[in-house]
């Protein structure tokens, strides 16, 4: 079972890749800022962040196309300082795929093996094995210009896997594919990674992609890592407002801490008449502190009837917009303060009697455990 795989939780485990206090500057611009990170063998690791956050630079430093200005990267205990890309046991799948247009699919896959000087029969075997792995046996003789986008992606993957690198780097591997194909390919990548037991490091700006595939996600912003955790923790326990907003949809309510009651935080906001009650015991807060409360849209419920006096966390507003997505319906609720809340509801039944309509007065509630307090 995949779930039990968590070498990062074991203090004895030795990381495969260790990024130790690495900084990369381009002139005055700091692309990666004193970054420290451990990646373990067999991990499917995602570097997630908006464009310009430094994730691509970090990956290029792992591949050897850039060298750190300060700090050291080690791979399996060996320093990579000054080691050029052609001497690293690391291969990369490029965002543009970078297939050699003057070589057939076969020759593309064989390229890296040829550089190693492997005997011809062994190269042929390995190429055949790779073609089977990505299900492209029939297209071995084709040229990249004769392939579809999805097929090119597979060739690029096969080429990068052929040398059996210690680490496979994937730069936005699914970025150029359409939505349907992207979803299929996500699962295929996971299967292949599992089958080969190889360490994958993926760079992506697509949080859904990262959530689906990764064992762990490192969320980056401005050259730093903001949080490293498994997808569940990133989504449910975001450390900062940036992460809460970047990963998935979220409603943010700003307020001030009033104090703690029975282990639950009481927070005064302009959005609700009564103070909100939040169950987030790990936070260390003091009275009067400005905080942001983050609640995911699916963790809020929407109803027409006024909730009873026992209900906590009640917000009042009117329906501003309704988006029907098939599986979900998204309501945008305008509060008296002018804030817009997103509330989503799974469409569990095909027919709903008198569904909530535009401009209706509604009550939005959420459980104390549904929200996260983020220190501002």
């Amino acid at each position: 079972m995949r779930r039990t795989f968590a070498p990062w939780a074991d203090p004895q485990a030795k990381p495969l890749i260790r990024v130790d206090n690495v900084t990369k500057r381009f002139g005055d611009a700091v692309a990666v800022d004193h970054l420290t990170l451990d990646i373990f063998e067999g991990e499917f690791f995602c570097l997630l962040g908006p464009s310009g956050c430094g994730k691509t630079t970090l990956m290029r430093m792992l591949a050897g196309f850039e060298y750190p200005t300060e700090g050291v990267i080690t791979l399996a205990g060996q320093s990579l300082e000054g080691v050029p890309p052609y001497r690293r046991p690391v291969n990369m799948m490029f965002q543009s795929y970078a297939l050699f247009p003057h070589m057939s699919v076969e020759k593309n896959i064989a390229f890296g093996l040829k550089q190693d000087g492997l005997p011809k029969p062994e190269i042929a075997d390995r190429v055949g094995e790779m073609l089977r792995l990505v299900q492209l046996e029939k297209l071995a003789k084709r040229y990249p210009s004769q392939l579809s986008g999805g097929q090119r992606q597979r060739v690029a993957l096969a080429r990068a896997l052929a040398k059996r690198p210690k680490v496979l780097l994937l730069d936005e591997p699914l970025g150029a594919l359409d939505k349907k194909l992207r979803e299929e390919t996500q699962f295929e990548l996971m299967d292949i990674q599992h089958e080969l037991g190889m360490t994958f490091v993926v760079v992506t700006h697509d949080q859904e992609e990262a959530m689906t595939m990764a064992d762990r996600i490192a969320v980056m912003d401005h050259g730093r890592i903001v949080q490293v955790a498994d997808p569940g923790e990133i989504y449910e326990q975001p450390k900062t407002r940036f992460i809460a907003e970047f990963v998935g949809d979220v409603n943010i309510l700003e307020g001030h801490v009033m104090g703690q009651e029975n282990g639950l935080w009481r927070v005064k906001t302009a959005s609700a008449e009564t103070p909100l009650t939040i169950d987030d015991p790990d936070e260390v807060l003091h009275s009067g502190q400005a905080v942001a409360i983050a609640v995911r849209p699916e963790k809020m419920t929407i109803q027409r009837e006024k909730p009873g006096p026992e209900a906590v966390n009640v917000l009042t507003g009117e329906v501003w917009d309704i988006g029907y997505l098939g599986d979900w319906t998204v309501y945008r609720i305008k509060l008296a303060t002018g804030e817009i809340l997103r509330v989503s509801r799974a469409n569990v039944s095909r027919f709903v009697e008198s569904p909530i309509d535009w401009d209706e007065q509604v009550y939005v509630t959420f459980e104390p455990g549904a929200a996260v307090i983020l220190a501002e």
Binding site: A63, G64, F65, P84, P85, Y86, R87, V90, N91, M92, F94, Q95, S96, A98, L99, F100, P101, H102, F111, G112, Q115, D116, P144, S145, R159, A160, K163
Partner: protein
């Protein structure tokens, strides 16, 4: 756009092409003239082509021209390609703009000036004028054309291809020969053909820098014409025109194809 050509467009097209090509067409027609008189049509004949091949002086000049063109185009191709690589690859080094401008200068410089300055240079370094000075002069002239053609290809070159090769274990030099060179080869060949053609039909620079035993075909033709027109010259010119046309057309097709290929692979 499926709009048809208007009468005005057709007229201007015909006039324009007539203006450009009528004199050349006339020359080609008269090279098949049976009469010795250049301005009187005396029936169809290929005798002047035969006479041309028996004309020792012309044939010798043609051989010299061919050797100079091949040699100078080869040197220009190597140097021009290297210059193109330096200009596109080494970012914004100090003096890059100046360097670029200087590479392109021979394209717009009046040939008389290029020819004259080269002559002065060869005299100054005491190099005997002849085969080698013409070759060097032509290299100077044609190198920039190679650079322009190769550079335009390199601009659209996807650098990640080279990174991929290195990532897969190929050191820089092997990457260049296994990936870069095959992909820019069509543009290099196009540059070579252009350089070859330019050298083939150059008169001005060659006549400034030539010496004994290195009379090129254009120089020979020019000096013979001064003594009087002969249909043989028409025949020689026709062959030259054919060669140049062939060179330019293949150069255009090659560079076009190479650009198309790079675009197609980008998507």
């Amino acid at each position: 756009m499926t709009r048809r050509l208007s009468v005005f467009n057709v007229t201007s097209l015909v006039l324009g092409f007539a203006f450009l090509y009528l004199p050349i067409l006339l020359l080609v027609i008269y090279s098949f003239n049976a009469s010795r008189l250049v301005t009187v049509w005396g029936g169809f004949s290929t005798q002047w082509y035969g006479a041309l091949f028996r004309n020792q002086a012309l044939m010798e000049a043609a051989w010299v021209t061919l050797r100079i063109a091949l040699l100078s185009a080869s040197i220009a191709t190597v140097l021009g390609t290297l210059a193109a690589l330096a200009l596109t690859r080494y970012g914004r080094f100090t003096g890059r703009t100046l360097f670029t401008g200087m590479i392109y200068a021979p394209m717009v410089m009046p040939e008389v000036i290029t020819g004259l300055s080269l002559l002065l240079f060869f005299v100054a370094i005491d190099l005997d004028r002849g085969f080698w000075t013409v070759t060097l002069a032509h290299t100077t002239l044609t190198m920039c054309f190679v650079t322009v053609v190769v550079q335009s290809r390199l601009m659209t070159f996807d650098r990640s291809l080279e990174e991929a090769a290195m990532d897969l274990g190929a050191p820089p030099l092997r990457t260049f020969f296994a990936v870069t060179l095959p992909l820019i080869a069509p543009s290099i060949v196009a540059g070579f053909l252009l350089a070859f053609t330019l050298s083939l039909d150059d008169l001005v620079i060659a006549s400034f820098n030539t010496g004994p035993g290195a009379t090129t075909l254009p120089i020979r033709i020019y000096s013979q014409v001064r003594l009087g027109l002969s249909p043989e010259i028409n025949a020689a010119s026709t062959i030259l025109i054919g060669l140049v046309t062939l060179g330019v057309i293949s150069a255009t097709l090659l560079s076009k194809r190479s650009v198309l290929r790079s675009q197609r692979n980008a998507h």
